[in-house]
């Protein structure tokens, strides 16, 4: 039995410790916001945070999460989470929307460390997340907007 912490709440997993975090979240704990896209850490749709750092949950075994905090879009700190969601809504970012929770988790890690990233810093942080609909320009605008909101709240 593995003892996990998902979005601040304790959870147990009684299965193969090699199971990727993604499938524990989706199929056992009913947390479906991280998506499956490739299974090889190539697309970023499955991005969640492990102790605040973005990871590809499709390729990270759940054993690596023991003693650490797993965070999905539902569990982001209120300030950052709301800033991102408000920005994504204001910029009307999603089309099919499938990749967007993963995009937002990568963006959350970025603006938590650096609320006013340059364009190059945004691209560097976000380049591992594929959007097949091509919403990249709106994602960039939304990251800037969310960062400003977070910086403004701190100021």
């Amino acid at each position: 039995m593995l003892k996990l912490n998902v979005n601040g709440k304790p959870a147990n997993f009684d299965g193969d410790p090699d199971t990727p975090i993604l499938w524990v979240l989706r199929d056992h704990l009913d947390v479906t916001s991280p998506k499956f896209g490739c299974g090889m850490a190539l697309c970023g749709a499955c991005t969640v945070h492990l102790d605040g750092s973005p990871i590809r949950s499709c390729s990270t075994p759940v054993s690596a999460a023991v003693g650490k905090k797993i965070t999905t879009i539902e569990g982001l700190p209120a300030g950052v989470g709301k800033a991102l969601q408000d920005a994504w809504i204001a910029e009307e970012v999603p089309q099919c929307g499938y990749c967007q929770t993963g995009q937002m988790m990568s963006a959350a890690a970025l603006i938590t460390k650096n609320a006013k990233p340059s364009e190059a810093e945004i691209v560097a942080a976000m380049d591992g997340n594929i959007c097949r609909c091509g919403t990249y320009s709106r994602i960039q605008k939304a990251v800037v907007r969310a960062g400003k909101s977070v910086a403004g709240a701190k100021a």
Binding site: G15, T19, D27, M40, E74, C96, Q100, G134, I139
Partner: protein, 713 residues
């Protein structure tokens, strides 16, 4: 008007073909628009309903979305059309996805299909009338209540008002309205009175998508459900000869192993275990005749087939009879590869068979196809199969296909519990219905002044329609293969467009913009080659050939002005392309430089005339999305076969566009009062010919084969 003739023919042949090809359907489907009775009253809960509207006694409004939401915004644009005429605020309505039902058939395609950039075009009058019909009944109910003429009453924001100042909310009128008959004719609003159409309304699905609450097919969960991973033959079409499932069954967590016609499924409570169990199956496959196929033999057979006479899709003037009298000739061949759809949400579907009913829940683009396909696949009557459409994590035509819904239903039937079938990315990439590869042989005859007098386009390619809707193809004519060539906008006295259908043995599917992307690459690259041979500027040359076609000339003029045609910065070049497709005119200019790795796209300027723009912000999003999909696929992607097996498996060898590669895109819509044209696919076809034209201008190197980067490897 050639365009409209073409459209009529496409529509009628597609409709005919759909009816014939799915003969099981013909008894059940009624083509056309039959709005159900205005009122449907139950004992204690009066409700005003028609196919797109439900208003309950408390005034709560539910609008039905009858097209699949795969990013293109129908979850908002369809309700916008209804809400405009129903006169309710869009922000207060609830949306439900439509079931499979004849009333939701797309009259432009003949089935309940989301595709062909038809959603708004098909719905344009129909859904506004559905809203107006319900509003007219509500106004009539108020007039009766007040004993005043209906003409003295108006509706706005869910409230009927009398000129005296009396008001009644829709909810208070539902009891009476639900007993009244729907009007036979309704008056639609004057466009100047629109409050929703043409305005940037918030997408109704955005909050759910950013809160992680939107339900895609992959997110479906049923009580007692198992997850299935399906081993399919390495070569599409192959069959199981023998399976040893002992090791799979011995794996902790594997619940069941089930063989269906397409392969062997391993079931577990999570995908990881199901897939791990599946990888332990020992299967002997009969890969069938497809096992002999590789790219060299496929390409050689395509070329051999190209010498056959093609079906004549368009003949103007003397066709090619006078080609040899031309003062000079330009000839070129263009080739495009097979492509995978690669939706980010891999193919999946959930099936539950309970109490003699089969419920199919998933990312579905063709609801009747799913209903009737599943019925046949599991031996149940179609009226016992119910289709529940989730959000689609991308569609592009892949989710028109019925393979995965039938597989899920067959596995669920054998398992006796609800089953979610989920394909891995590798399954998805290697078992697609691929965009056809193509060979375009183009010849132009020019007079002494350099004007095109004879234009010949011959396409040799597999026919998706011949596979999916065989009866639509009559005498070798697949109307969808002529998209982008038959509707050539240039004024040329003698034109011959012919198509040769050649089945390569690889299964093919409709892929966002279908043949428009193939033919536009050939035609618009070729026009630049002709202009070069005639020593003319490609824009001036096009403008001259578009005389009398104001919409085409306008988009070309605006796009090239905005892009700064003739004023490219040092080390950069501009390339242009223009066309009409889906009733929409557009022109694209690409700004390109060369790097050590090959061409780099910096900026795209697009001008689009799609008539009335229903939802401007999302129209913009669709054009941008189409351009980037065309770019992403055209630069790097191809699907190849070795011994019948697809060689690409995931995003490392079938790379998709990333943020760092994304150009600046400047999009302008022409203001128009013409009826809406299509938008979902319009952005796709022109970006690659525009890039290839810019590359030729910049480097002198003409790339006639996609993916374009393979010329710079």
């Amino acid at each position: 008007m050639k365009k409209h003739l073409l459209q009529d023919k496409l529509e009628s042949s597609a409709r005919r073909g759909f009816m014939k090809s799915t003969s099981a359907l013909s008894g059940a489907l009624v083509i056309g628009f039959n709005l159900p009775a205005a009122g449907a009253k139950t004992a204690d809960a009066p409700m005003l309903t028609n196919a797109w509207v439900k208003v309950d006694g408390k005034g709560a409004v539910t609008l039905i979305c009858h097209r699949s939401e795969m990013g293109q915004g129908v979850y908002t644009s369809m309700p916008m059309l209804v809400a405009e005429e129903l006169d309710v605020p869009l922000s207060s309505v609830k949306i439900e996805m439509a079931p499979s039902a004849p009333v939701y058939i797309n009259a432009m395609l003949g089935g309940q299909i989301t595709g062909g950039s038809t959603s708004v075009r098909d719905a344009w009058t129909k859904l506004r009338e559905a809203g107006a019909s319900a509003r007219t009944v509500l106004v009539g109910a108020a007039a009766e209540t007040w004993k005043v003429p209906a003409s003295e009453c108006t509706a706005a924001n869910g409230v009927v008002m009398h000129k005296s100042g009396k008001k009644l909310a829709y909810g208070a009128l539902v009891a009476k309205a639900s007993t009244m008959k729907a009007p036979e004719k309704v008056a639609l609003k004057d466009p100047k009175d629109w409050k929703i159409i043409g305005k940037n309304k918030a997408r109704l699905d955005t909050p759910a998508k950013v809160y992680g609450k939107a339900q895609y097919g992959i997110d479906v969960k049923k009580p007692g459900m198992l997850i299935a991973s399906l081993a399919q033959a390495p070569v599409i079409g192959g069959k199981v000869v023998k399976v040893n499932d002992a090791k799979a069954k011995a794996l902790k967590g594997v619940v069941n192993v089930i063989q269906i016609p397409d392969g062997v499924a391993v079931l577990a409570k999570d995908f990881y275990t199901a897939k791990k169990g599946r990888d332990l199956l020992e299967i002997e496959w009969d890969n069938g005749p497809g096992a002999d196929l590789d790219m060299e033999s496929i390409a050689a057979a395509l070329r051999t087939a190209s010498v056959n006479p093609g079906a004549i899709m368009r003949k103007d003037g003397a066709g090619i009879a006078d080609m040899d009298k031309a003062a000079s000739k330009v000839e070129a061949e263009y080739e495009l590869p097979f492509l995978a759809h690669a939706t980010l949400e891999p193919v999946n579907c959930t099936a539950e068979i309970i109490n003699g009913e089969c419920h199919i829940t998933g990312p579905i683009q063709f609801q009747q196809g799913a209903q009737y396909g599943v019925a046949a696949g599991v031996g149940m009557p179609p009226e016992k199969v119910f289709i529940h459409t989730t959000f689609l994590g991308g569609g592009y035509g892949r989710k028109l296909e019925l393979d995965f819904q039938i597989q899920a239903a067959q596995i669920a039937k054998a398992a006796g519990v609800p089953v979610k079938l989920l394909w891995s990315r590798e399954d998805d990439m290697t078992h697609d219905f691929y965009r056809p590869l193509s060979l375009h042989q183009m010849t132009a005859g020019l007079d002494a002044a350099g004007n095109v007098t004879t234009f010949h386009s011959k396409l040799t390619s597999p026919s998706v329609t011949a596979r999916a809707f065989p009866p639509v193809v009559q005498n070798g004519k697949d109307p969808f293969m002529a998209e982008g060539s038959e509707n050539l906008t240039y004024k040329i006295p003698n034109i011959l467009v012919e198509n040769v259908i050649h089945d390569t043995g690889i299964r093919v599917g409709f892929w966002r913009s279908v043949s428009n992307a193939l033919n536009a690459f050939a035609v618009e690259s070729f026009i630049d080659e002709i202009a070069l041979a005639a020593k003319k500027d490609p824009v001036a040359y096009r403008m001259d050939m578009l005389k009398g076609d104001a919409r085409s000339q306008n988009v070309l003029k605006l796009a090239t002005e905005k892009a700064g045609w003739g004023k490219a910065a040092a080390g950069r070049a501009l390339g242009v392309a223009q066309m009409e497709c889906y009733g929409t005119h557009s022109a694209v200019v690409a700004e390109v430089s060369m790097t050590k790795d090959g061409p780099k796209l910096h900026k795209v300027t697009a001008v689009v005339d799609c008539g009335i723009v229903v939802h401007p912000d999302q129209a913009h999003a669709q054009i941008e999305s189409g351009i980037l999909l065309g770019f992403s696929s055209g630069m790097k992607n191809s699907i190849t076969f070795k011994n019948g097996v697809v060689e690409q498996t995931n995003f490392h060898n079938y790379p998709l566009l990333r943020m760092s590669e994304t150009p600046v895109i400047d999009i302008t819509f022409v203001s128009s009062s013409a009826a809406p044209g299509g938008l979902g696919e319009v952005g796709v076809p022109l970006i690659m010919p525009a890039i290839a034209n810019a590359v030729a201008t910049l480097t002198g190197k003409r790339v006639r084969k996609l993916p374009l980067m393979s010329a710079f490897a």
